[in-house]
Amino acid sequence: MTAQDVFFYIFALITLVPAFVCVFHPNILYAGLSLFGSFFGVAGIYVLLGADFIAATQVLIYVGGILVLILFAVMLSKNIYGAKFQDEKKKKILPGLLGLILLGFLVKFILTTPWNMTLTDEAPLPTVSRLGDLLLTDYLLPFELASILLLAALIGAIILARSK
């Protein structure tokens, strides 16, 4: 095992254990806080995959934006510690069984498919300039559409959430 493999298992653990807590903890506030660790673990996985800009963006957008928004919404609704926010345990059994069956199928297909791996040499690491080149040449139309989508989401959220 090289150091990279050890780091993969560490980051996988950092990703999966908080995700497990997030799904199965009855209190929604603790579930949201445990997402914090999960998003950082995914950022570490991106670093291992040689995607430095994606990892930085993951930390900025998911941890800095999305997670803060989710915690904001959790804390705005009252009775976080009350009985209303505690889900019952037995509701988890049927989705858990379904998930285990789905996981079995997925893992079986992942392990039996002959992947066409064409890994050559390591790509040079600062990917930022090449990503920027791609965004403004090959992927220009999706890039502009993403900006329109963000503008529409911004206006829609303001219209939906303002008080009358």
Binding site: C22, V23, L35, S38, Y46, I54, Y62, L76, K92
Partner: protein, 104 residues
């Protein structure tokens, strides 16, 4: 070698994350909890894209798609939380079993 990490390890990791998100979506009654499940599913899709970008495609197209996943996840969570806050203002609940009609 079982422990040497290659594409399959990343795919299995993202499959576990995906299934955890699906379980969260199906089992939570709090709508913010369902949103957390959707975030887990989107993260697993991002891991898949970047892993394929390194091991199969060997260019940066997968990383571009991961960036677009971030954009879509951000706008989705903003709209969903605005709707949830709106429902909470009118009904003082975010439990999906108490929200039965579209008009509120």
């Amino acid at each position: 070698m079982m422990f040497a990490v290659d594409l399959r390890h990343y795919l299995v990791l993202s499959a576990i994350l995906f299934v955890l998100g699906i379980i969260g979506i199906l089992s939570r009654k709090n709508s913010v909890g369902i949103l957390m499940g959707i975030e887990l599913v989107m993260n697993s899709a991002g891991i898949n894209f970047v892993a394929f970008s390194k091991y199969v495609a060997a260019d940066l197209s997968g990383q571009i798609f991961a960036l677009f996943i971030f954009v879509i996840a951000a706008s989705e969570v903003v709209i969903a939380l605005a709707i949830i806050l709106r429902i909470y203002q009118n009904k003082t609940t975010v439990d999906i079993e108490d929200i039965k009609d579209l008009k509120c």
